[in-house]
């Protein structure tokens, strides 16, 4: 045995036994450390494991006490599991394929408290979701000034109208003064009486006198008729003028009312309006939840898709960690390196147990040709009627991945749920029943989602103070508080559009309508209060000019009476002239046989 050391075989055997023994002793700890290290790197926060138990026959692994810290809240675990157990296919393991038929996760709980912080130095990546920049609700400017101040600054159309009427009346009065002077008057009636008396005394003058008297009588009658006609015309014209002014005076009341309403609308409508209330109340929370969801999606992305590239036809896959690259060749049959065919998960929520399963967990979906799908559900839980979460992460074609998720929650009892929006204020849903549905799709980088929430049997209270409003003593804020506290039902809808890196969350809800009604209510209340005062003030302002107007109208009325009086007298005169000198016969007492 010139070239062989037989004792070397013994040493080798001992070394192998020692190595195997060390492996048996240390493998559990090594696996535990590896899971903690890898998990911490992927999640960006501490991942802890109480214990790992590696089995050889059959090959498998049991993990106990897994805790994954929430990177955004280092004092809370995103989830923890009391026990995770799975068996691995031995022959496949020799080919470096980890194929798990069924993985069982028991006692999975979400958002549990930690005893110590699980924060680690954050790796570069998606920025942490902000705490929700609370934009203050900018209540519209709403200050109702003093009535006298309003009248000092506002121009009243009614006053202009009254002034115009007065000017017109004065002008017309002057005109009619002149016209009346030109009209026949009592002096003319006296003249006519004298003429008629003269005619009556001319009876014994013979035929010539008779004929001359008749002619004079006819002329007298014509003169009277002419004067009467001009008086009647003047009276008619004056009547028209007066009636026109009377109508205009009646318009003063309606103009006064219009002025009051115009001013009320101007001073009791909040400037700027109140819009986007839903976004201000629910936006920050919705943005936080969306951002947190996207962050977790990006953290878990390597689980569903491996980074790969191709060189000269062969696929080159960089391992998650380690040196060098692995070149993959065509497999027969093709199989992913890691595949968990079915993971059965038992979630423990405060409401009760929720069971579900996740199928086809592998970073090599293209090889497996089947997408990852998940399905969780529960019914009849404490404080929750039913819950359903389904979806799929389809990366079978890495160039065009499609991820979908659907969540349906029915009859969830909400208690003391706070909605913070206003600076230092918000509202608290003391009690409500929530029905929620969420549908989210991610196609490539394109994100689209709709979330609808219906709250019923609500009891709401305002939390904290509200913005003070100068001048109204918090009138608007008080109305808003009252409106919010009075809500019994509420529908909220959020629409998510955009891309993973640049998305927009548009929120609408009944809150917009409720707030708008509250604002309009406040405006109406202010308007009602102001209307009486303003009407009285405007009436007071118009009273003086109206009094002058009344006087002018009375003047015109007196003129009309004067003309009517003259018309009456001239009418009598005409009657007298029509009877002639002897009660209707010819002068001299001559009677005709016919």
């Amino acid at each position: 045995m010139r070239y062989i050391r037989l004792w070397g075989l013994v040493v080798f055997a001992v070394a192998v036994v020692v190595l195997a023994g060390a492996w048996f002793l240390l493998v559990d700890g090594a696996v535990r450390c590896m899971i903690e290290r890898t998990g911490t790197r992927i999640v960006g926060a501490r991942v802890e494991l109480d214990g790992a138990d590696v089995r050889l026959f059959p090959a498998g692994l049991t993990l106990t006490g897994l805790k994954v810290t929430n990177p955004e809240e280092p004092m809370r675990n995103a989830f923890e599991a009391s026990r995770i157990s799975f068996a691995v296919n031995g022959p496949d393991l020799l080919r470096r394929k980890v194929i798990v038929d069924e993985l069982t996760a028991e006692g999975v709980m979400l958002n549990t408290a930690r005893k110590s912080s699980g924060a680690v130095k954050r790796a570069a990546g998606r920025a942490a979701p902000g705490k929700g920049k609370k934009k203050a609700l900018e209540l519209p400017a709403f200050r109702v000034p003093d009535v006298q101040e309003i009248l000092r600054t506002e121009k009243l159309a009614v006053l202009d109208h009254v002034a115009g009427l007065r000017n017109g009346m004065e002008r017309d009065k002057a005109e009619w003064d002149n016209r009346l002077k030109a009209l026949p008057d009592r002096a003319k009636i006296d003249g006519y009486k004298k003429r008629l008396e003269g005619l009556k005394g001319a009876g014994g003058g013979g035929i010539g006198a008779l004929l001359g008297g008749a002619t004079e009588l006819v002329s007298l009658q014509k003169d009277i008729e002419k004067d009467l006609k001009s008086l009647k015309e003047a009276g008619g014209d004056l009547d028209k003028v007066i009636k026109s002014y009377e109508r205009s005076v009646k318009d003063v009341a309606s103009m006064q009312h219009k002025d009051v309403e115009r001013i009320l609308e101007k001073y009791t409508t909040p400037a700027g309006g109140l819009s986007g209330v839903s976004g201000l109340f629910f936006g920050p929370q919705a943005a936080r939840w969306t951002e947190a969801g996207l962050q977790w999606y990006e953290r878990l992305a390597p689980v569903v898709e491996r980074v790969r590239s191709r060189k000269k036809g062969a696929e080159v896959v960089k391992p998650v960690r380690g040196k060098g690259v692995y070149v993959r060749y065509e497999e027969s049959p093709p199989m992913p390196d890691l595949l968990i065919k079915k993971a059965v998960v038992g979630l423990k929520l405060a409401a009760g147990p929720v069971n579900g399963q996740i199928l086809n967990i592998t970073p090599d979906q293209a090889t497996l040709a089947r997408p990852l799908s998940f399905d969780f559900g529960a019914k009849g839980l404490k404080g929750l009627e039913s819950l359903s979460l389904t979806g799929s992460l389809d990366h079978v074609r890495p160039a065009s991945p499609v991820d979908t998720g659907r969540l349906k929650v029915a009859g969830l009892k909400l208690k003391d749920f706070r909605v913070d929006a206003l600076e230092g204020a918000g509202f608290v849903v003391d009690d409500a029943l929530l029905d929620l549905s969420a549908d989210v799709t991610l196609k490539g980088k394109g994100l689209a989602g709709v979330v609808k929430a219906e709250l019923g049997s609500m009891k709401v209270s305002m939390a904290g103070g509200g913005p003070e409003l100068g001048g109204t003593g918090g009138m608007l804020a008080g109305a808003l508080k009252g409106a919010v506290s009075g809500m019994r039902e509420l529908s909220v809808k959020a629409e998510i559009t955009g891309t993973l890196d640049d998305y927009d969350v548009k929120i609408s809800s009944d809150l917009d309508r409720i707030m708008d009604s509250a604002v309009k209510g406040v405006a109406k209340e202010a308007a009602d209060k102001l209307r009486g005062e303003l009407s009285a003030a405007v009436s007071g302002a118009v009273k003086g000019p109206m009094a002058g107007l009344g006087g002018d109208l009375e003047g015109l009325g007196a003129m009309r009476e004067q003309v009517e009086g003259l018309v009456g007298e001239f009418g009598l005169m005409r009657g007298d002239a029509g009877k002639g000198t002897n009660g209707g016969g010819l002068p001299g007492g001559i009677k005709l046989p016919f």
Binding site: R2, Y3, I4, R5, L6, G8, L9, V11, F12, A15, V16, P91, L94, R95, R96, K311, K312, G313, A314, V316, K323, G324, V325, Y326, V327, R328, Y329, E330, E331, S332
Partner: protein
Amino acid sequence: MLRSIAKLLRVLNSEAEPVQVSLALWLAMVSGLTPILSPHNLLVLLLALVLRVNLSAFILGLMVFSALAYALDPLFHLFGQMVLTADPLNGLFTAMYNTTFFRLLDFNNSILMGSLLLSLLAAVPFIIVVNALIRRYRASVLAWVERTHVMKVFKASKLYRLYRAYGEIGGGP
């Protein structure tokens, strides 16, 4: 304690022929340059223990080549990737890839392939060169080393006396 150490040193320093030393160094190169936990290193360890090669040279060489590997890894990666993605060898590697034995060996890792292949290709020239260097060292440098003060002090130590005693018993140098 000193006896045990002396005994161990004697064992390690047996098989001191130049070819035994150079073969041990080559085995150390294979093991040191390739990822240490690779399965093929079990075979290397077996060969180092079973074949009559110089164990102290193997241990020393393993340390030296493991340190060198950190610097040479980029070169191994480039060479290994080039070999693994060579079209003419695609068929061979595909067949190997679908064989459990070769999958266990992790042959499709670029650094392992590059370092192992280079170590194997360098086997013959390496052994020849190291062999020649050892002979030259023993002919010229060793005599000078033996005359140094450090060597004289060491040779006067009890450890060395025990080492020589075990060597005479074992029939070694």
